[in-house]
């Protein structure tokens, strides 16, 4: 007999984007992040400052036996 326990863990992602060339990268959400904030990072392709393009959360169901 096994006991299945389902729990949900979630991860919030911040999407950074270069508005000039469309380059995007993803990192973990940090407190203080908000969409359209210019971050301290530049585009590796053209050196344009990156902005936060979106913040979303992914829920993952975990099964423990």
């Amino acid at each position: 007999m096994s006991l299945n326990v389902q729990s949900q863990s979630q991860e919030t992602k911040t999407i950074l984007k270069c508005t000039k060339c469309g380059y995007t990268e993803e990192r973990q959400f940090q407190l203080g992040d908000f969409v359209m904030k210019i971050v301290d990072k530049t585009c590796p392709k053209d050196g344009t400052p990156l902005i936060i393009w979106g913040i979303y959360t992914v829920k993952q169901e975990q099964k423990a036996k």
Binding site: T19, D33, F34, M36, K37, Y56
Partner: protein, 371 residues
């Protein structure tokens, strides 16, 4: 002889157990006993659920107290008690004349009262923190109300010894518990300044504002920006981010239309909408009318000004569940923002002439979404 004696003893036991069983059935058939048993069973089920709702309500209070303490607030416990019991009385509806302006007056009065109570307690807090505390106070207030209403009906059912009333509580309590769970999770999302599902409208608006030539505040906590889309002047309106606020989009749109003497080709509203069970989160739909979950004053302001000048109103909605709308924005909704933006651009290019002016309103709470 021994054998007969044993058989007799067995018969007596069997007779006694049969009589006890009949007596038990007779007792159970007494209406008062049945009623008591039903009430005991039902109340044990609903009281367990009520305990869960109370736990969520207490947690929300404690989180708000912790937030206030971290900002060195004056009397956090007293402030939270006041905010938890705050209410706004509905305007008189048997006399409908002027009901919208009376409702607007009362709703804004309620908002400003909460804001001033918080500002008095934490005078040095910035506007974003104040808005987070306001939303947190709303969560505490809502959870406190749900708990008190459920407790009221349970106590009333017990007092009246009414299993029918208790059955009604038992039927409705899973929905209320789900609602309470959603509110409970929402408090953490707003505290961390993340976008919620309802921030979909402001997210689309913020992206349209990206290359804006001019930005201004047409109403309190509301921002407008002017941009060009395929030769059309597009005025984009959203709540002022990243505050956790919905702003005053109705008042802003009415003012902008009047400033343009009604020379607006179209008003397009973009908002999150509650999905029906079975519908996909993030599905985009298009319709006619003001997409806005407002109690009345903001929505009617757009309807009135659009009717006055004969401006067509489009609605672009993205569907999601109630919990998804007030907690962390799910990936499906984030992905839908791009589709909604494309649809808005398509409406602008296909249904308005080059050189005309269009208003796009990103409706919803702009928590975690700037401009």
């Amino acid at each position: 002889m021994m054998l007969f004696a044993q058989a007799d003893q067995g018969g007596i036991y069997s007779l006694i157990s049969t009589l006890l069983f009949i007596a038990f059935l007779l007792i159970l058939s007494i209406p008062d006993i049945q009623l008591g048993f039903q009430m005991w069973r039902l109340s044990s089920i609903v009281e367990k659920e009520l305990g869960e709702i109370k736990r969520m309500s207490d947690n929300a209070r404690n989180k708000l107290i912790d937030m206030l303490k971290s900002l060195n607030a004056k009397d956090p416990q007293g402030l939270v008690d006041t905010l938890a019991e705050m209410f706004v009385i509905d305007p008189v509806s048997v006399e409908p004349i002027d009901i919208i302006s009376r409702m607007r007056h009362l709703l804004r009065g309620g908002e400003s009262k909460i804001k001033s109570l918080i500002k008095d307690s934490v005078p040095n807090a910035d506007p974003v923190t104040i808005s987070k505390l306001e939303v947190s106070a709303e969560v505490v207030n809502a959870l406190n109300l749900v708990y008190k209403v459920v407790r009221h009906y349970i106590n009333l059912a017990k007092k009246l010894k009414s299993p029918m009333l208790m059955y009604q509580v038992q039927m409705v309590i899973p929905i209320l518990k789900r609602m309470a769970e959603a509110y409970s999770k929402a408090q953490d999302t707003f505290r961390d300044g993340k976008p919620v599902g309802d921030s979909l409208g402001p997210l689309v608006a913020a992206r349209l504002m990206l290359n804006a030539t001019r930005k201004w505040e047409p109403a309190e906590e509301t921002v407008a920006a002017e941009t060009i889309v395929e030769g059309r002047k597009v005025i984009v309106v959203k709540a002022l981010g990243p505050l956790a606020t919905v702003g005053r989009p109705g008042e802003a749109v009415a003012r902008i239309v009047e400033e343009h003497n009604g020379q607006i080709a179209r008003i397009i509203t973009v908002d999150a909408a509650l999905k029906l069970e079975g519908e996909q989160t993030g599905s985009v739909a298009e319709g006619v009318g003001v997409a806005m979950g407002d109690p009345g004053p903001e929505k009617i302001a757009i309807e009135r000004v659009a009717t006055k000048y004969g401006i067509p109103i489009d609605a672009v909605i993205v569907k999601m569940g109630m919990e998804e709308a007030i907690t962390d924005m799910p990936k499906e909704v984030y992905d839908a923002a791009e589709k909604a933006e494309s649809l808005v651009r398509k409406i602008i290019t296909e249904r308005t002439p080059v050189g005309s002016s269009v208003i796009v309103v990103g409706v919803g709470n702009t928590s975690g979404v700037g401009q």
